[in-house]
C-alpha cells in the first residue's frame, strides 16, 4: 500500500488490538456476542426444566440458621459481577461500609472514622446456599442497631438484611475471568433508603451494577407450576393467583384462590414426564385454571396479566418481591431466580 496516496482519512492513532481482536475468538466478548447473534430478539427460554430438587450441598445447612430467611418480604435485584471482591476481607468491608453509612446519615457534617454510632454493619457468609461447588459462596450483610442501654441481655435488633447468592449459575460463571465474583441475585429486606445507600457503596467499591429484577407473567406461570409440583407433607395456605386488569382510575385486581390439595391433584394429572417440567404442561395447567374460572364467572383471565403467585413453597410478585415459606425447596426457588437474573444481565 502506497502511503503517500492515502489522503486525510488516516486514523488519528493506531487501532489497538484491544476491544476486539476480531479475527481471533479468544475473548469472552466473542462468546457473548455469538450468543446474541444466535438469539432471536425475544431470547430463548428453555422449554424444559428440571423439577427443583434438594441439592446435595443443602444438607449441610442448618435449618435454624436460615430460618431468618423465611417468611420475610424480599426485594429482588440483579447484580453484575463484582470486581476484586474477596471473602477474606469481610471485616474490612464491614468497617468501611459502617463509616460510609454513618457519614451518610449525618449529611453535610463531617464525621470521623470509628466514631460511635448507634448501628453496626456485619458481613457474614452463608454456607450451603449454592447449587454446585463452582458457585461462589453466598454472603450476607446486616445492619444491626445497637441497643442504647448497655445491658448485655438486650438483643441487637436487625434493621436491614441483604444477601447475595448464586445457585447453579454455570452459564455466567464460565464466561467470566477470575477477578470477578459472580453473585447475580441480591435480595434485600428493610428500608428502601438503606438499600439505596448500601447499593451505592457496592457500586462504587466493586464496580458492579444493580438492577431491579422484574418477573414477567410468563415466568410467574412457570413458578406456579414448579412450586405446585413440589411434594410437601402439609399444605399451609391456599394457592393464590392475582391477575391485574389495567383500567382507570385504579387497576382492577382479580384474586383466585385454590385449595392446595386440589391444585396438586390437577398438576399430577397434567404432569406426564418424570423429572422434568415442559412448557406444554405449564400452559395446560394455567389454561385449566383459567377455563374453570371462566366457566363460573365468564371472565377470560388470559386477556389479563398475571402479577402475583403464592403457593405453600413461596410467593412472588411481578415487581420483584419474594417470600419463601419452606426451607426444603429454597435451593430450587433460588435456582430459578438466579436463572432469571443471569438472563437479565446478559
Amino acid at each position: 500500500m502506497d502511503s503517500s496516496n492515502v489522503p486525510a482519512f488516516t486514523p488519528k492513532h493506531a487501532v489497538p488490538t484491544g476491544f476486539r481482536d476480531y479475527f481471533s475468538s479468544a475473548s469472552p466478548f466473542q462468546r457473548q456476542l455469538a450468543s446474541v447473534r444466535k438469539q432471536t430478539p425475544f431470547g430463548q427460554t428453555p422449554s424444559r426444566r428440571k423439577i427443583p430438587q434438594c441439592s446435595p450441598l443443602q444438607e449441610n445447612i442448618d435449618p435454624q440458621k436460615i430460618a431468618f430467611l423465611l417468611h420475610k418480604q424480599w426485594t429482588l435485584y440483579t447484580l453484575t459481577p463484582l470486581y476484586k471482591f474477596s471473602y477474606t476481607n469481610l471485616k474490612r468491608y464491614s468497617t468501611l461500609l459502617n463509616s460510609f453509612l454513618a457519614a451518610e446519615k449525618q449529611k453535610g457534617l463531617a464525621m470521623e472514622t470509628g466514631e460511635n454510632c448507634n448501628f453496626k454493619v456485619i458481613f457474614s457468609t452463608l454456607s450451603g446456599m449454592k447449587g454446585t461447588h463452582r458457585d461462589p459462596v453466598a454472603f450476607l450483610v446486616q445492619i444491626v442497631s445497637k441497643s442504647q442501654l448497655s445491658s448485655k441481655n438486650a438483643e441487637d435488633k436487625v434493621v436491614w438484611t441483604g444477601w447475595f447468592c448464586c445457585v447453579y449459575g454455570d452459564s455466567l460463571l464460565e464466561n467470566v475471568p477470575d477477578d470477578f465474583t459472580c453473585l447475580p441475585l441480591f435480595l434485600a429486606n428493610g428500608a428502601e433508603s438503606n438499600t439505596a445507600l448500601i447499593g451505592t457503596w457496592f457500586q462504587k467499591t466493586f464496580d458492579c451494577r444493580f438492577t431491579r429484577l422484574t418477573i414477567s407473567a410468563f415466568n410467574l406461570s412457570w413458578m406456579a407450576a414448579m412450586w405446585t409440583s413440589c411434594n410437601l407433607e402439609c399444605y399451609g395456605a391456599a394457592m393464590e393467583l392475582l391477575w391485574s386488569v389495567p383500567c382507570s382510575p385504579q387497576n382492577l385486581d382479580i384474586s383466585y384462590a385454590i385449595n392446595p390439595e386440589d391444585a396438586k391433584a390437577l398438576w399430577d394429572s397434567v404432569h406426564q414426564t418424570p423429572e422434568e417440567i415442559t412448557q406444554e404442561e405449564v400452559d395446560l395447567f394455567i389454561d385449566c385454571l383459567c377455563s374453570h374460572f371462566h366457566r363460573h364467572f365468564k371472565i377470560n383471565l388470559s386477556a389479563t396479566r398475571l402479577v402475583y403467585v403464592s403457593t405453600s413453597v413461596a410467593s412472588a410478585h411481578t415487581d420483584g418481591k419474594l417470600k419463601i415459606f419452606c426451607s426444603n425447596y429454597l435451593i430450587g426457588v433460588l435456582a430459578f431466580l438466579t436463572e432469571l437474573a443471569i438472563f437479565q444481565i446478559e
Binding site: M1, N5, V6, P7, F9, P11, H13, A14, V15, P16, T17, G18, F19, R20, Y22, F23, S27, P28, F29, Q32, L33, V36, R37, P41, T80, P81, Y83, K84, S86, R92, L96, S99, F100, A102, A103, E104, Q106, K107, G108, L109, A110, M111, E112, T113, V176, P177, D179, F180, A196, G199, T200, K204, T205, D207, R209, F210, T211, R212, T214, I345
Partner: protein
Amino acid sequence: MVMSSLEDGLSPVIPNITQTRKNKSVFALLNPNDEEGDSEYAEGNETDALHQAFEHIRNVPKRGRIKKKHLETLKDIAWKFGLSPEDIDTLLDVALSSAFGDATKTRLLKCLIPTTVIPESSVVKAVSRLCANNYSSNTKVIFFRWLIALFDFIDHKEELNSLYGFFFSFLQEESLAPYISNLLYLLTKKENVKLFRVRKLLELQSKVGMQPYFQALLSLYKSFCPDLITISLPPKRKHYFKSMDSTWRAAFILVRQRNQLSPLTSVDLTIGIADSHLQTKKWHSVCAVPAPTSSHVCKEEDLGSLEAVLDVSNQRPFPLEQLHTFPQLLKNLQNLELPAQMCSVLTSRPLLHYLNCIQDETVRLRLYYWMNQELKEGCTWYRVSNYASEEEFSKFLDIIINAQCFLQEGFPSSEVFLYRSLPFWDGVSCQAEYLQLLSWIPLGNFSDIKPLFCDSLAQLFFTSTIYQKCSILHSLKQLLQNWLLGHSVEVSLKPSLSTTLDTTMIALNSMSELINYVGWLSSFALRLEDHSSFLLHFILDFFEMVSDAYLNYSLPLLMIFPPGVFYPALLTSDTITLNHLCYIMYRSHFSSPNKEEREWL
C-alpha cells in the same frame, strides 16, 4: 472549582506605555560595591524617582511618616513596570516591619507587583515576621490575599510547603480563616494531610458551622486520603472561596506584556473535587456517568504484598481526580491506576487514552457489564418500565458515541444493544444518536450480521420519510468508511501474508454484501420517492465512497452500480446528479486495478 472575581478597592490598571525598562534592581545602584550596575542602567525619571522613594522609605525613622509623594511614585512605578525580585524582597521586608502604621502598611503591600517572579525566601521571611510580631488583622488579611492572588508566581514552593503547619495554625483566627483555607487549598499535598489536622478542622467546623471554605479543604483532604475522612458533602459548589483579587493578577500580566516578556503558564487552578452522591430518583437506574475516583479499597489489599517488594522510589499512584490534561497523563503514565468505577472513563479524555494502552480484558469486561445494563435500563423503547427520559438517554448515547469516535472503535455492548433494540425502534426517538451507533458496527462476516439488523432496518427504511431515509443512508456510508479505515489499518499492523489474505477476503466479502444491500435499498427507495434528487445525492455519495476504495484504502472493491440507481441518475434532468454520476464513473475508471476492467468501464 471556579473563583468568582469581584473588584476590590484597588486602584485601576494604568494604560499601556511602550517604554521598556531594564530589569535591574534599584538597590544595586545604592550598593557601592556594585560597579557594573551604573553602565547598564537606563536613565529615566521613573527609576530615579523609585530610587529616591526607596531610599526615603528605608531611612524613615521609627514612627515617622513616609512622604506621600514617594508612596505615589512607588505605586505608579510598581503598577506600570512591576518590581524586580530583590525589590519585592526589600519592600515586603520594609512593609512588614512594625515601623509604620496600618494604612501605610496596606498601601505598601498593595504595591507588590512583580515583574517576573516572587522569590520564595522573601515570602518565608514575611511569614516568619507575621508569626513573630503582632499585626493587625487587616494587614494580615491583605498579606494573605496578596499571597493567594499571586501564588502561582512564587518561584519555588517547597519551603512554603514546609511551613504548612504554621499556616494551619492561623486557621484559628476567624477573620483569617477563609483566606488561610484558600491558601492551604493551593498548598496542600498528600503528605500534609494528617489526622490531627483533620480533627482540628472538624473541631473548628463544629464551632463556626459548616463554612464553604472548610468544606473545600475537607473535600481536598478527602480526595487525597479518603480513608482518613468519612464525610459526606453537599453537592459540589462552584464558588468555595471568596473573590480572588484579580486586579493583582491582571496588573501582573499587563506588566509582563509591557516588558515584553513571555507570559508564565500558570497552573490551572481548577482542581475537580470528587462529586458527592448525585441525588437521583432511582439509585440503581439512571444514565449518569460518574466522575473518576481512585479505588482505595483495592489499593490497601495490595499494600502488604507489593509495596514491600517494589522500589521505594516508585511513588504512590497518581490520584485520578487530578487527571485533566494529556501532559499530566504522559508524566504519570507509569503510576496511574484504573478508576474504581470503570464507566467513568467515558467522560475523561486522558483516561480514554490510557484505556487504549491497556491490554487487560477485565477492564473491558467491567465496562461491558455496566454499559450493557445502562443501555438496557435507559432505553426508552426497549423496555416497558424505563427510568430515563428520552433526553437523558440521548445525552447518554452521545457520551458513548463521543467515546467511540475518540477511540475509533465501537464498544461491544453498544453493538449488542443495537441488535437487540433495533426491531423495536420506532425510527424517531433519539434518531441522530441511534443511527450513529449503526455506523460503528465492527467489520466481520456480513452473513452473521445480516439477520440481526438488515431486515429490521429495511422495514424502517421503507416506511420512513425521505429525510429519515437519507439519514440512514448517511450512516450506512459512515459504516462503510469505518470498515475501510479499520481494515486498512489492520492490514498495515499485521504484515504477514497469510493473515492479510484471510482478512482481506472476509473484508471484501462483507463490504460487497453491504454494497449490494445498500444498492437494493436505494433502488426501491428511489421508486418510492419518485427519483427525488435529494435522495439521489445521498445514494451517489455512498457509491462515491465505494469508487474511492482502491485509491484511498487500497481495497479492490468492484464497483457495480445497481441498474435501479444507475439509470435514474443517468437519465435525470438534474445537472448536479449527472455531474456526480460522471465523477463517480471517472473515479472508478482510474481506481480500478484491472486493466480489463478499466477498458470495460
